[in-house]
Every structure is written in C-alpha cells, then in structure tokens.
Symmetry: C2
Subunit: 677 residues, 2 copies
C-alpha cells in the first residue's frame, strides 16, 4: 500500500528510484539515497531555490552532494524536480554514454553543480561557492536591492568529515563566518570498513563548533519537521551550519540497513523486495513514480521559476538605470574578458639582470586585476613569496566579504577546492598561489578542476632548485612532469617577464580548463625582443626564439623557464663556432600539442635530429620532443640545500653542460645519418 502522506510518498520514491537504478545497473551505492532521502526531500521541496528550466540562473541556491557516491539521490532529485534528466537516463545509470555516471559530473548532467566523489572535495567546493555568494552580495547588493541572495547547501558524509581537505575548508569557512553555507551531515555511523567506531570516534559536533560553526542535531530524520526547523535555524544563523542528522544507511533494507553492506553494492532482489514490503511500496513496476510524489517538487520548481523571473526583471530594470554596473555583472556572469584585455598587461624592457618571473607575475596580475573585479584570489600563506598581493585591495574577511584578496592560510588543498568552487559558482576568475612543490598537496583538487574544465589559475612560484637554501623538501623536481600528466591542465613555465605576461593572458583566455603557472624565485634576464621573437609565441606552447648562425639549423636547443637563459648562452657559443643553432622557448607542452602537426614541425623540423632539451627537473616525457638522437639536461634526483647558483652548477645546469650535451647529440645525429648512408 502506498503511504497516504505526500511527503512520505515522495521520500520513498527517491529511495526506490535510487535502489531500482542501482539494482538494474548491478553497481552503485544504494545506502546513502535510502538513508538520506528525507533530508534531501525537505531541503529540495521547502528550502532550496532553483529553476529547473534555468539550471544556470546565477542567483539559484547551490546544492552539493559531497558524498558523490550517493549520485542516484541527486539524479532522483533532478528528475523529480523537472531538470532535463529523463527517466530513461536513470534507467541507464552507470552505462556508457548516459548522463547518469557513477559519480556526479559537472558539465555532464544539468543541475549538477560540481563533480564529486573523491571525499572532502565537494565539501570544499561548497565553501568556495559560499565565499562567492557572500562576496557578490557584499559587492552588488545595495540601495535595498538584493541581486545576489543565494545559499549553498550540501550533504556531507563521515568520509568527507574525515578528509583533511574538508577540515581545512571548515576552518576557513568558520573564520569567514560563511552563514550562507549549510551542510546536512549524513551521520549514519557506517563507513566502508564497518562501524565508525572502528576509527572515527572524535566529537564531530564539538570540532565544528571549535571552527566557529553553528551545529545542531536532527535525531530522527523521519520527523520531517525537525529537519525543516533545523534548516530554518541554520538560515537564520550568521555562521556556517552543520546539521548533524542521525540517518540509517540503506533505510528499509531488511538485513543490510545500518551495515556497511548497504553502502556500495546493489541491494539484491531479496533485500530490495524486503525493503519495498517494509515501506509499503509496490514491488512492481520498477522505477515507479506516483504522480503525487512529483507534486512537492513541482511546487518548489514553480516557486523557483517565479523567483527567477522576478530576479531577471530586477536585472532588466537595472540595465536601464545603471548600465555600467550591469555591464560588469553581465560580463562576469558570461565569463567574458573585458575588451582589449591584452592591452592591459605591461611590456617589460630588455634587461640582462632581469627579474624573477614571480615578480613579473605580480605586476601582470595587478595590472589585470585593476580592470577585472572578477579576478579574486590570494595565497596559501605565501603572499610575498608568490607575489600575489593585490595592491589596494582589502582582504576577504568576516567583516568584509567583499574583499578580493584571500588569505587561504596554510591550507593548500582547501585552496585548490575553493578555487574550483569560486569558478563553478560563476562570476569569478580565481587564482591561488603557493610554492610549486606544494602543488602535491592540491593535486586531487587540480585533477577535478581539469576534469570539470573550469577556469582556475594556479600561481606556483619557486619552481625548481632555483629556490636554493630551503633544500630538497621545498625544491620541485618531478612536479612539472606530474602536472603535465593531468589531462586538460595547461602547465605554463614562462622564460622571462614578457612570457609571463603572455602566460597570464593565455590562462585568462583558456575557458575550458585550469592553468598552472610555474614561476621562478630567482631573477632571469628579460630577453631582448629585438633580437628574439615576440613573447606572444608562448601562446603556441613552443616557438623559435631565434636561429643563430647561417643557414638552416643543425641543432635545436629547447628549454622552459629559467633554463632558457642557458640555451641562449650555449647557442651563442656554438653558433660562434660555426654551428647553426635554433633556440626554442618551450613553456608549455599542452599548448604546443594543441596546435597543428605542421606548426610543430615548423618549430622542431623533423630533419634536425640533434636536439637538446634543458629543464631543471626530471626528463620524463622530454624524449618525445628530442627524439633518439637527442639529449635532455635534467635532474634525476632530489635537490639539495645550498645557494641556488651553486646548486645549478653542482647539479649540472651550466652553459658548459648544455654545450657538452649538444656535442653529444650532434655526434649521435651525425652517426645516425652516416648509418643511414
């Protein structure tokens, strides 16, 4: 018998839509949707503000399912709410080509706000989204009008709360008093290995209170009123809220409820039948959606659509009364750059002494940020080192959420997730700085940003042994290779100040993926662009700086970043000896690969087999560019603690070493040519 209560009907619809999908896929996670269905129902039908016809409405509330393994909960909600997610897709859960993958994927499914699954990441994205919401409200809500008044809701799990990245983000959220952030904690006391008593006995509520959060409890999640009241209370509180909800994983399953077996495998026919019987649900048909179950969602959607229309009308009026303001807002929402952005960046005069590319980056960033309020970011407690300070801009704080500079604290991983949250929210081009070495701390967040194809800019300074005395713990060696390994991340290591300016422009224009800038601590010469090709060549990933000597080159010397200085010196010496040398600045493999094979062959002519690549990091991957006759001057060990000039010398990054490698490659190439007759 179908329960007579409309809410209970809707909740059970979520439960069995999810369980039927998992059972049909013979793969997935039924436990969370069945246990947290009532939380989601109350949130979505009574609080969440959304317009299914306009999933990109900027002033919508955001919903983050941080526990992404419970994806069927989200797909059920999206379908019931009227998003463009047909039942047929739910029936193809976890199948090739469906829009219902195993974990929610941003950009793949309408209404999915972030890609989640790796625990702690969604939690952290939500913190970034809430920072965005507070920031926009502080900046644009004035004169009694409320252009941005949305919240960020989420469902978070034990696993999320155990992950360090969420701890970092929670501390920052409390510090910033992000009252627009409200998380329902699915406290089911079960993780994959069994009871949370096995390993997770800390007092979670007390911990979040220590972070400065408002914490309440819902003891019985089948009592919908308490959920509703807890949400209302959370909305009224100026602090971020954690609502600790005592749920029962796999609610309804006769033998699996409250066990780890309910977490991540199909319930099986018997259990599923038992649950349906217990909750008074018809055994057939599968994927049953009683008409009445759709009603609460339809009402919520109708309210949302009305709110959305009112909001659009407000903006329309504002476009007439304050067109300048609305130009800015519209541009931010569209994610467009201001016209003539390339003219904003400074040009640096040739200078043999030069400056560190981190210093150039600071100047370029400031020039851009002055004209682009959407550039918001900061550093993980290395502001001066990363040169990320925004001159004249206040820090974001609880008192001033409109501040544009973010002190992330020593929280690189949270910074990564927050950057994604800001980008996902829309209206921001976020950046975050740390040492390149600490990109390792952020790697899971960088990967997800790359997968989501969002515009985030990582400012990684101190990009080699060139950082000197701090030693091997702080010297990246394998990091350029490891970052280049991530699909859809552009790694750009400019050689001088003017390439740094071009690198920033490239990062801004790259709308479909993040960019990592690798910048030197130490000074590098600002190349004389009357002798060398324009720095704008950086946009092609690799470009010919100059052909030295007469006739077609016999040798290609290529390098990225600070090592370009070495190939210039080596090339000059070799060409003085009569060897025609091509110098190639090679700041980005990804940008080079994105070009045509013809362009690549123009820069690296197949006929020229004597090639040397120079980079103060591991060789991994360079063999592709230098070929069998080539040489790589690289570093196949950890660094050491000493002044950087000594390190470069002791570890083999000298003009002489490059010349020696060039001679070996010339000889090998000649030998191969002789062998070829």
């Amino acid at each position: 018998m179908i329960s007579s209560s409309r809410d209970v009907l809707a909740i059970n619809t979520i439960r069995f839509l999810s369980a039927d999908a998992v059972q049909q896929a013979n793969s997935g996670h039924p436990g969370l949707p069945m246990g947290a269905a009532s939380l989601a129902h109350v949130l979505w039908t009574r609080h969440l503000r959304f317009d299914p016809a306009a999933p990109q409405w900027p002033d919508r509330d955001r919903f983050v399912l941080s526990a992404g393994h419970g994806s069927m909960l989200l797909y059920s909600l999206l379908h019931l709410s009227g998003f463009d997610l047909p039942l047929a897709e739910i029936q193809r859960f976890r199948q090739w080509g469906s829009i219902t993958p195993g974990h929610p994927e941003f950009g793949h499914t309408p209404g999915v706000e972030t890609t989640s699954g790796p625990l702690g990441q969604g939690f952290t994205n939500g913190v970034g989204m809430a920072m965005a919401a507070h920031h926009l409200a502080a900046r644009y809500n004035r004169d009694g009008r409320s252009l941005f008044d949305h919240r960020v809701y989420g469902i978070v799990s034990d696993g999320d709360l155990m992950e360090g990245v969420a701890s970092e983000a929670a501390s920052l959220a409390g510090h910033l008093r992000l009252g627009r952030l409200i998380y329902l904690y699915d406290d089911n006391r079960i993780s994959i290995d069994g009871s949370t008593d096995l390993t997770f006995t800390e007092d979670r509520a007390a911990r979040f209170q220590a972070y400065g959060w408002h914490v309440t409890r819902v003891a019985d999640v089948e009592d919908l009123g308490t959920i509703d009241r807890a949400l209302a209370e959370a909305k009224a509180d100026a602090r971020p809220s954690l609502i600790v909800c005592r749920t029962h994983i796999g609610f309804g399953l006769p033998s699996r409820q409250d066990t780890a077996a309910a977490h991540g495998e199909p319930p099986g026919e018997e259990e599923l039948k038992g649950a349906k019987e217990r909750l008074g649900w018809p055994l057939e048909p599968r994927f049953l959606i009683p008409d009445e179950a759709r009603l609460p969602f339809a009402e919520a959607a109708r309210r949302g659509a009305q709110d959305h229309q009112a909001w659009e009308a407000m903006l329309q009026a504002l476009r007439r009364s304050d067109p300048d303001l609305m130009r800015e807002i519209d541009r931010r929402i569209a994610g467009d750059l201001p016209p003539g952005v390339a003219r904003l960046v400074p040009t640096f005069p040739a200078d043999a002494k030069g400056l560190a590319t981190r210093a150039a980056s600071g100047k370029v960033l400031n020039a851009l940020a002055a004209a682009m309020p959407e550039i918001v970011g900061g550093s993980a407690d290395l502001t001066t080192s990363n040169q990320t300070a925004l001159k004249g801009e206040a820090a974001m704080s609880a008192e001033n959420p409109g501040g544009r500079y973010i002190h992330y604290g020593v929280r690189e991983h949270a910074m990564g997730g927050i950057l994604s949250g800001l980008a996902l929210h829309g209206g921001f081009i976020p950046f975050g700085g740390t040492f390149l070495i600490f990109s390792d701390y952020m790697r899971p967040a960088i990967r997800l940003a790359s997968m989501m194809g969002i515009r985030v800019i990582y400012v990684f300074s101190h990009d080699s042994i060139g950082l000197g005395e701090d030693g091997p713990t702080h010297q990246p060696v394998e990091h350029l290779a490891a970052l280049r390994a991530i699909p859809n991340l552009a790694v750009v290591r400019p050689a001088d100040a003017n390439e740094t300016a071009a690198a920033w422009l490239t990062a801004l224009e790259r709308r479909d993926g993040p960019t990592a800038l690798a910048l030197t601590r130490q000074s590098v010469p600002t190349l004389d662009r009357t002798r060398f090709a324009p720095a704008d060549g950086l946009r092609r990933g690799a470009y010919v700086l100059a052909d030295l000597g007469d006739g077609p080159p016999h040798l290609v010397l290529m390098a990225s970043g600070s090592e370009v200085e070495l190939i210039v010196a080596a090339g000059e010496a070799l060409s003085a000896e009569g060897v025609p040398v091509r110098l190639v600045s090679f700041p980005s493999w990804e940008l080079f690969e994105a070009g045509s094979p013809e362009v690549r062959d123009q820069v690296l002519p197949p006929a020229v087999r004597a090639r040397v690549a120079v980079e103060a990091g591991i060789a991994q991957g360079w063999s592709r560019w230098v070929g069998e006759a080539g040489e790589v001057v690289s570093l196949e060990r950890f660094g050491a603690s000493a002044p950087y000039k000594e390190l470069f010398s002791h570890l083999g990054f000298t003009t002489d070493a490059v010349i020696a490698a060039a001679r070996r490659s010339l000889e090998r190439s000649a030998m191969m040519a002789r062998a070829a007759g």
Copy 2:
C-alpha cells in the same frame, strides 16, 4: 653580561647559535628557534630520553620538529647534546655538502628522526611513531619487564595545525588514545602572511579536545617550571597531549619579535645586535657556547646513556632466557627479513580466468604476514576493495594497541605520513591500501618517504579504467606516470598473480625506498609459466615473457599489468601471420632502469625498432622505451562510467587496437630502414 641562571644561559645559547647561523648563511628561519628555545630546552634536558652516542637506540624517545623550517633549533640541540654534529657544520648551515640543510633531513644528520618542512608531515610521522611505540610495548612488554617504553615528542606550529593531514592524524591519534604522543604547540600567533587573525581563528584547543586529546596551556614560556609541569602532566595522561605554548616569534629581536618578519629571513646585523643586548648576550664571538650552557644537556645525555646501557643489559639477559623472542626482536630492529622469505609466498597455477592482482596481493600479504610480525598495516577504509585484511589479526585500537591491522579511516594523507612514521621508528614493514586514484591525496607523504629512502609499501588497487562504473573521478589515468616521476619510488604493476608475489618480495627486499604496488580490480589471467618465462623476471623491471614465431623478433610488444593480456593475444595473432614477436612484461620502469644497459638491450634489442607499449594510462614517458618507430596504446583523456569491458573496448584497449598499432610501427620501422638504405 651573561645571565647567571644556567638554564637561561642554555636557552640563550640555543637562540643565538641559531640566529648567528641564519645570519651567517644569510638565509633561514630565526623566529622559531628564538621563540621556542625554552620549550626545547626543558624538553631535551628534563624529559627527552636519548643517548647521543647511539642515535639509533630503539627505546629512545623520538623528537620530531614538525615545523622543520626551525631546523637551526634542532641542530643547536643536537650539537649541545653531544650528537655527532660539530660546530663547524652549524657554521656551514644551508651550504652545499653540509649536514645542516635548510630543513632537517633524515639519514643526513645524526639524531634527525624525520625529514620535515612540508607542514603537517612531521606531525603525522610522529603519530605513526607513537603507534609504533604503543604497539611494541603492547606486544613485547610482559612479565613486568619494559622493553619498549619510549615516547614521541614534537614541536608543531600554526602551519602544522592548519594542514589537513595533521587534522586527519590528530583524529586518529585521539581515537587510538596515543598517550605516548606529546606535542608542544608553538603558538606564536604569526604566520608568513601576518597575524594568525588573518585566517586562523578557530579554537585550536577545543578542536583537539574534540579529537580526544589532553590539552593544556603554557602562558609564559619563559617560566620553565610551567613547561616542566605541563610535560609531566602530559606524560601522566593516557591521551595524546597538545601543550599550547604562547611563544613569541623571534624572541628578543628589538623590532621583529612578534612579527612575520622574524619568520623566514636573517635578522640582520642591527636586529641581531639589539637582541643580544636585550638578552644580555655578548656581541662577539659569534656562535658562542659558554661551557656552562652545555651542562644541562650533558646531564641529560648521561642519564640517557645509563638508561641505554640498562636496556642493553636487559636485552642481553633476555637473549639467554628467551632466545626465540629476542631473535624476533633483533631481526625486527635490524630490519632483516626472515630466512627463506621467498618460500613463504604462494605459487599460483595457470588459469585463463585468473584472478585480480589485488586478490593475489591479499593472499601473498597474508602468507607473508603470518610469518612476519613486523608487517603491520591496513587500509584507508577500503579493506575489502584493497584486499588488505590480515586474517586472524586483530585491529589496532585504544584497547588493543598490539593489534596489527590498522583502520586508517578515510584519511589517505595521514595514512601516508603514518606509514613513514612506522618505518622511521624501526621494527616495522608498514603497508597501507587505497585506490590508486587516491595516491594523489598521499603524494606529499610518498615524496618524503622516497626522499628519506624508507621501506614503505603502498597497496594501490583499482589501478585503471578497469574499475569500471565508478567513473572518471575514481579511474586513475595519469597516476602511474605521476608516481614514476618521484625519484626513488619504485612503481610496480604486476601482470598476474605470480608477478604479484614477486612484486611483494621485491618491495620487502627494497630497504632503501618505498614501493607502490598498482593492482587490478578486475580478474586477469594467471599466465602459464610453462609457456612464459618465470614471474621472478619482475624483479628486473621488464623481462621477456616469450619470443613467438621463428627467428629473431621483428617486433616487441610490451605492457604492464592488466594490459599484458592484450599483448599476449595480439602477439599470438601476429606470430600466426608470420611476424616473429617478442612479448615483454614491463611492470616497473625503476627496477628496469636500476639494471645494466646490457640487460636493458637484451630485453629491448636496439635493432628491433618496431615496438608497441600498451598501458591503460597516459603515454607520458613511454616514448623512451618505444623509440621513434614505436607506438603507444594509451589513454590521453579521463575515463568514463560504464562496465569495464565496455570501457576497454570504447577507449581503445583491444587486441585489434594493439595489432593495428603494431602494423603501424612495423611499417614505420621498415620505412626508416629503407630510408637508411
């Protein structure tokens, strides 16, 4: 005027030895040593148990300077305590070839217990060391004797407490009630960007109480009695302890004390002079060590030496009375494997259906662990998935610290640091399991383990798109390449059950660095070793499985892990067509590179230029092995959510695709040969 108090004299000696060294190096971090000198002094002279003549004494207390940037504090303490760290080395702080690098490095400097600097890592290593201390005490202290009775002390900073990895580790330490762990928190209220008010306003004490820690405060660190009492109280408490010490960064510096400027740059001559004047210290000579200042350290060292002798005598007696027990203990301390360890592992019969290498790994691990009590470990909440369960072994818990199975919780990063802590402690061969994708979460800890050259075994299952429906968020694509990038980490991806056994043996025998095992979720055939070469070939990194067809090979097909199945099928098809094919199983680049060039040329004959590498991940780096005529069947995108067989097929991992790649390579190789005349 030198202060009359011996303790104050010693404390100021630490301060100015450190500050003088930083000033002389013109690089380094004076703030922490000057601010925390009194903490360190009281700890080292009144509580820490150590014998400078025997820095490896197994029952010593461990001291971890998690805030590794304060390295000069540690070097000062080691020198004053009589470790083999001459003053001349302090005078060469941060110089090439010194044993006083910018951050403390394990294995480089006597008395340094771990490599620290990347924040949060030392904190986490200490948790692992404390787990080791509790475990050994529970296992070996009986009949009233106390073989292992040491503690783990550390100095931790704001930055450590902000890092998520430390949060994860702190939660687990509280859960396990690691009373042997005592951290002095250098609460100086300053981080690099300025006041901690900028970003770190959470209630740290309350947070640690929520984790189940004992938390006390020292309001005035110049009152040595309060530090002493707090340490005594902490030692008496059954919980891990955090002693929140209100310190003053750069204590004594006239204008820089209590500012970020004291953190990470030389004080400058004027400031240094001012500090010496304020604290009544002679301006000259630099590096002054009054004889009296050495006395408290000498007394502590003398006590430690006596304790050490008594301990050795106890062991000596036990070697007579309980030789079996002592054989085990001595072997564990020495880090030796039991004799005939290779005979412990099972041999798997040929089986076309086969089994997943994670399943084989579970069997091998259990066979080894049954005979080797030093094998201790577990999983980050994926026990069944990683197949890491130790049958018949209890879980480590507060009640049973002698349990060998560790439920790390959903705390991959802490797991990484704890594994290192267990290995650094000595007496353990630790292992930890998670999905290969989540190696990203652990990367900073893996890097440091590699740098330290310690024996840690990472069990990474679900090593490709072969995990199937969970989708791209959980499918490693770039992870093999990214792990191979880390110097001194051995990445081993066995092709079948018998290679998995060889992989475990290799990891055990690899004493000078960690090993990452990459294991399949899905079944792979167990190769028939009467047709193919013995799996023991894995130890060489790559080996010839078989030469198919007549005469010398015209083509080499190489693959790792689950893709070996594909090259076998492709090789059989091609050899049936008359192409002589060499099949190479290539489980580990690092092991292959460690061999001689001659061995490498035997496996991959330079004359055979038609080569195909197959791996369900990115190609990065494979071009080195396949050469210019070669092909790589790889995955240059993120995966997708679908049953795994469909994924392999849709994403190009089929026998046909390998054959097509082989034909392309054969053709290119022939073309190159023709061009060569």
